[in-house]
């Protein structure tokens, strides 16, 4: 085998090894779109409506039997809020996904929403 061929084989092997070592990038701040609340579904549902009212949001659609409330803020942010109950543990999981007309919006809306909801639930 010629030295040139040996070098090229070495490079190919080198590339394969490093591709194998590569890992998917992970965010240091993963999106937290859901949170568990130690409250019944009904209590959490009422508190979400209270948060919407306090934020002067406009309800676009809601269906309690489905657990979904969608509202719009003045800043043209639309928020999908989905509640999933767990009667055995008396907890409710709340999922929040905000959108703007052009696409997904990910600027700490969820965090702010969860803080307000938590405050509302402890108040009651």
């Amino acid at each position: 085998m010629s030295p040139a061929k040996k070098i090229s084989y070495f490079f190919i092997l080198f590339i394969f090894i490093f591709i194998g070592c590569a890992h998917l990038p992970t965010s240091e701040h993963p999106m937290e779109i859901n949170k568990v609340f130690h409250a019944s579904f009904d209590k959490t549902w009422d508190s979400v409506l209270e948060v919407v009212k306090t934020s002067k949001g406009i309800i676009i659609t809601k269906d309690k039997s489905s657990g979904l409330i969608v509202y719009k803020l003045k800043s043209q942010i639309y928020t999908n809020v989905y509640l999933k109950d767990s009667p055995s543990t008396n907890t409710t999981v709340v999922y929040v996904v905000p959108w703007v007309k052009s696409g997904h919006f990910s600027e700490e809306i969820e965090e702010h929403f969860f803080k307000m909801l938590e405050k509302n639930l402890t108040k009651k």
Binding site: I60, T61, V70, K84, Y95, W99
Partner: protein, 164 residues
């Protein structure tokens, strides 16, 4: 004399026509906060859309999985568990119908008629070729299937023949 071409450029750039703002039916609904938005008839969703059955799953499982998938796709503007219809505004807007039955079937219709121009309704502002539509529908059903069956037992495996 060298100034003359620059002068002409300034004058003519000032005369340039403004870009045309195209308003669609969807833009109108955004302006009205979706007031007056009418849900398409179930028959239309079934006939114009694509259907897929989800065996070994209840209506509730399919319904809640559909909500979780759709709320990650866009803004849910209408939903009713009673009628089984969910409308989501994304690109393109989607109308979904979950049909109750022994085996739950989901129909998905792309509402590209919302891209019709307000000034000239015979024209559309955005087109989706059939192939692209197929990709969108298949992609959605893939996500929905994963959501429904994730965490479930491997129900396709039997200890003996299924009819035993």
């Amino acid at each position: 004399m060298l100034v003359l071409p620059f002068f002409a450029l300034f004058v003519f750039s000032g005369c340039a026509s403004k870009p045309e703002v195209i308003k669609t039916r969807l833009d109108q609904f955004f302006e009205r906060d979706f007031k007056g938005f009418e849900v398409p008839e179930i028959n239309k969703i079934k006939l114009a859309g694509k259907g897929k059955s989800f065996p070994y799953a209840t209506f509730d499982e399919v319904w809640h999985s559909a909500i979780i998938v759709l709320m990650q796709q866009g803004i849910v503007v209408r939903l009713s568990k009673e009628s089984g219809v969910i409308i989501t505004v994304t690109t393109p807007p989607l109308a979904l119908f979950v049909e109750r039955g022994g085996v739950v079937t989901v129909y998905l219709h792309i509402m590209d008629d919302l891209y019709k121009r307000v000034d000239t309704p015979e024209k559309v502002a955005r087109r989706f070729p059939i192939q692209r539509k197929e990709e969108i529908l298949d992609g959605f059903f893939g996500m929905l299937g994963t959501q429904i069956y994730s965490g479930k037992k491997w129900k396709y495996l039997y200890k003996g023949p299924p009819n035993d």
